[in-house]
Symmetry: C2
Subunit: 224 residues, 2 copies
């Protein structure tokens, strides 16, 4: 019975990792589509989201099956509950990558906007957070998870900076308003993705240390 | 044993309803603070979020305790898993109400902006969705839950309209840019709250009908 459950938990982990890989890829391509003004690439991100949605449903069903059939306790139970939550965060990162791709489709058809926007810095930091949060999950590595939580403030600061830059650019060039509002949305979506990566990292810490660190932003703020 | 578990599930329901009430109140006050340009009210929303965060942790611990001690199956298991997810959505609605309140604090200190903004319509529809989704949970009423899902497109449409209005107003009055960007954020936060209410309604449908309706927006789009 326990061996059987362990096998099913391994299957679940493998499905969750498939979802991780798909979400990372989707985010990477969405960011690339903005950078390269590539509407076709953006469309592929939007079209492929259906697979992410289906995998999320599969992972949840798998969790429910294990809970119902094997009634896990202790660390196994904590893993299943954490998997349910991380599954949710991953699916939402996928949705946000789609939102970025939608903005990218619009931006690709417009004249390029010259705004001193830290897009590369923000995109890279956010992608790093997603990758690190998922690696911390795979390796059950709390140290990396804590680093992800600490990085969230940096992305928040870049997003705030973006607001100021957009505001100044709009005042100087009102005709760019529409494009700039779309760019602002991209920045905001990245900031939300960073929040989800932080949620995942917090869940990893909870799973490994059994300690709830969410809602304790002050723990990290001092480090950033 | 089963009687004991049912009692604990009743306790869990009661805690979840406490959280529902706190989140509804927080949203209501945040919206009121924008409407009445009341920075003190906005501050009270921000300060009170700590109680919502604590209740969310309590509900999750309660869910884990029931899963570990009683190993529920069938409808009870589905209820616990749904409670875990709804708990998460409620806490995020609370965070978004705080985000609205933060914007409200800024807006209260600025000169009023005359934008033909459907703020009242959007705020009322979003609040209605939150209340209905929570009532559908309390009454296990799928009909109301489906109505919530159908309403999400209306809020999305109002948010898109808001973007266009803000864009046009910025082009006409660039000096209002900062205030308008804050108003745009409020609109976006409302739209995200509506998304979370939709998640809750979808989870209610899943719990009652055992049917996954999320990722099937087309089911509702035709109705709106």
């Amino acid at each position: 019975m326990t061996v059987h459950m362990q096998k099913e938990i391994e299957n679940l982990k493998s499905k969750l990792l498939t979802l991780c890989a798909a979400v990372e890829k989707s985010l990477c391509l969405a960011v690339q589509s903005v950078r390269e003004r590539d509407a076709a690439l953006a469309k592929s991100v939007i079209d492929d989201d259906v697979h992410i949605d289906q995998t999320e449903i599969d992972v949840e069903e798998e969790c429910l099956k294990i809970l119902a059939l094997h009634q896990p306790v202790a660390i196994d139970l904590r893993f299943i509950v954490t998997a349910l939550k991380i599954n949710n965060d991953l699916e939402r990162i996928g949705d946000l990558a789609v939102n970025i791709a939608e903005r990218s489709e619009f931006l690709a058809g417009q004249e390029p906007i010259s705004v001193p926007f830290d897009f590369d810095a923000m995109a890279e930091k956010t992608q790093w957070m997603v990758t690190e949060s998922l690696d911390s999950l795979v390796d059950m590595d709390c140290k990396r998870a804590h680093q992800v939580c600490a990085a969230d403030d940096e992305v928040d600061a870049l997003n705030r900076k973006m607001y100021k830059q957009v505001e100044a650019t709009i005042v100087a060039h009102p005709r760019w308003t529409r494009g700039l509002l779309h760019l602002l949305s991209v920045s905001r979506h990245l900031e939300r993705i960073a929040d989800h990566a932080t949620n995942i990292a917090e869940d990893v810490i909870y799973m490994v240390e059994g300690r709830i660190v969410r809602h304790k932003a002050e723990d990290y703020k001092s480090q950033s």
